[in-house]
């Protein structure tokens, strides 16, 4: 018996296991994906494009893009700072800090919205102060942006920390010893090394920012054309029984999700090649 035969199952077992796994995936993952595009296009491409050109849908797309344009760069700067501190240095309380960074991921989206209502709502801590200044935060775009920042807070840091850790400190230490400053070392040594991990972190953060529903729903107030992001617009269209229009808008976000997965696969492929090269040099 060859070692390979000993290590694996008989072909019948193998094939049935693959079959069960694929069936489960088709039923639970691929079918919902198929439904989105099938329903969006069920009345033809003209109807599809027409429903995307709706005034409220375009306003929702605009607000979604603006939200992401503010939330993603802020979390990118945080992600880089946090990764630098956590990956390059050894300090007490590091694991605790890592746990705290992940907290927004384990908070229900509805609770993520609720805490900002408690802060900025009329009954909230800053409610009267904000009203006296004539500002609007809750039920207005600022709250949507703040809630989105909270929900997507760890996305860049989570992707970047392991990549930066894997690179080690040797190259940075060499650059510093040779007289390069901290910023120069970061721009010319660290950043080129982690750019793929950084890119995936940003794209994932962006996908989350554009797709957030629960938290944004709590703070938005659902004012058509003013505080509706694309996911909220999808809900409104769906509840109005405009199913095709709802799925047309949904298909944009499904495309974004697929694009995110393509970038993820590319980054993983890229890293696998790099890791192999590193191992070969070691031998």
């Amino acid at each position: 018996m060859s070692s390979l035969a000993r290590r694996t199952e008989s072909p019948i077992v193998r094939r049935s296991l693959i079959g069960i796994a694929l069936l489960y995936l088709v039923l639970f993952i691929f079918m919902p994906l198929f439904i989105v595009f099938a329903t969006a296009l069920e009345k033809g491409i003209v109807y599809y494009l027409h429903s995307l050109a709706d005034v409220d849908t375009i306003a929702a797309i605009k607000l979604t893009v603006i939200t992401a344009l503010i939330a993603v760069p802020l979390n990118l700067v945080f992600g880089v700072a946090a990764s630098w501190a956590i990956a390059k240095f050894d300090f007490r309380g590091k694991n605790f800090l890592l746990t705290l960074i992940d907290v927004p991921l384990s908070v229900s989206p509805v609770i993520s919205g609720l805490i900002f209502v408690l802060l900025f709502g009329l009954q909230g801590v800053f409610g009267h102060w904000i009203r006296d200044h004539g500002w609007r935060i809750i039920f207005a775009p600022p709250a949507i942006i703040i809630a989105t920042i909270f929900v997507t807070f760890p996305m860049v840091a989570r992707e970047l920390i392991p990549v930066m850790k894997a690179q080690g400190n040797d190259e940075e230490e060499a650059a510093i010893t040779l007289g390069a400053g901290g910023w120069k070392t970061f721009w010319y040594i660290t950043l080129p090394n982690v750019k793929w991990g950084l890119l995936y972190g940003v794209i994932l953060c962006n996908a989350r920012a554009m797709g957030e529903f629960g938290a944004v729903s709590v703070v938005s107030g659902h004012i058509r054309g003013y505080t509706n992001t694309l996911p909220l617009q999808i809900e409104i269209l769906y509840n109005d029984y405009s199913f095709t229009a709802a799925f047309a808008a949904a298909s944009l976000l499904a495309f974004l999700a697929l694009f995110t997965l393509v970038i993820k696969s590319l980054v993983e492929f890229r890293f696998r090649a790099e890791l192999k090269a590193v191992r070969k040099q070691g031998h």
């Binding site: 919902p32 946090a82 300090f91 800090l97 384990s106 805490i115 554009m210 993820k264």
Partner: protein
């Protein structure tokens, strides 16, 4: 609290850590502390009355119960999928592997309307399920189906790398000493992946108990029957019952933190076991 363990030649420790702690406090810690501050304005008797009201208990039972059932089902199928991806090759494997993360990348509202359309009585899958007497939308079953979709990637992605790490030589050695496939599985493979199954389960469970967007469309939203806890929070908010909403949220948050602690414990347990062998 955060003290550098040894001097480093690399600059920027205080700047990067300072900014990290500042931004973390501003965006996450201070806003979250509002839940505790707001709840502390309630007397314990009032708090207890809110979180043990029949409608609240029913919502908790649905959110926690359906999340538990869905994560439990996903343990088995998630493990099977991780096994197939880690050990076998088949055509289209790379695409299948990439699409595992689809539920994680897809916005929850899109998942919600897609799943509801799929499982409603005239939906692509729902028409068959309704015929055999399973009401797959606007019911408990619907909530479980949605949470299965949401939770699957967490289990597969936690178990898959551990399965790939198992040294084939150990299996060869066991096999040459006369162990059968089932024995190798139960004595070598299963103990090695058990901590990752615990981690995957608690990650999926933690994510699904608070899930809103993908569930709210398919749940039916009947108070006391098919109303999930996050929806009850929103309902209380719309009635300007901020204390009620906050009390219900605080209980959910504490359960999430306990699960986070369980995840960390499982990882510590795993690293200790590897350290011993």
């Amino acid at each position: 609290m955060f003290l550098l363990k040894q001097k480093s030649t690399i600059p920027g420790f205080h700047l990067s850590l300072g900014y990290t702690v500042f931004y973390l406090s501003l965006i996450v810690l201070i806003p979250l502390s509002m839940l505790f501050i707001k709840t502390s304005s309630l007397s314990f008797a009032d708090f207890w009355a809110i979180v043990t009201a029949p409608r609240t208990l029913a919502a908790y039972r649905l959110s926690f119960g359906a999340a538990f059932i869905a994560s439990f089902i996903n343990i088995f199928f998630g493990f099977l999928i991780a096994w197939v991806l880690a050990r076998y090759s088949f055509p289209g494997k790379k695409i299948v592997d990439a699409l595992i993360d689809f539920p994680f990348a897809l916005p929850t509202a899109v998942a919600g309307i897609a799943l509801t359309t799929l499982y409603s009585s005239n939906g692509l899958l729902g028409q068959f399920l309704y015929k055999i007497g399973i009401q797959s939308a606007y019911s408990w079953t619907g909530v479980v189906l949605a949470l299965i979709f949401i939770g699957l990637p967490f289990i597969v992605r936690t178990v898959e790398p551990i399965l790939q790490e198992i040294d084939p030589e150990i299996e060869d050695a066991a096999s040459s000493l006369g162990a059968g496939r089932l024995q190798i599985f139960s004595r070598i493979i299963f103990p090695a992946v058990l901590p990752s199954l615990v981690t995957g389960f608690s990650l999926a469970f933690a994510r699904t108990i608070g899930e809103y967007g993908s569930v709210v469309f398919i749940a039916g939203n009947m108070p006391g029957k098919t109303e999930i806890a996050p929806l009850l929070i929103i309902t209380k908010l719309e009635q300007f019952d901020y204390s009620g909403a906050t009390a219900i949220a605080l209980v959910m948050l504490i359960v999430s933190f306990l699960l986070l602690a369980l995840t960390n414990w499982a990882q510590w347990w795993a690293s200790k076991r590897i350290g011993m062998s």
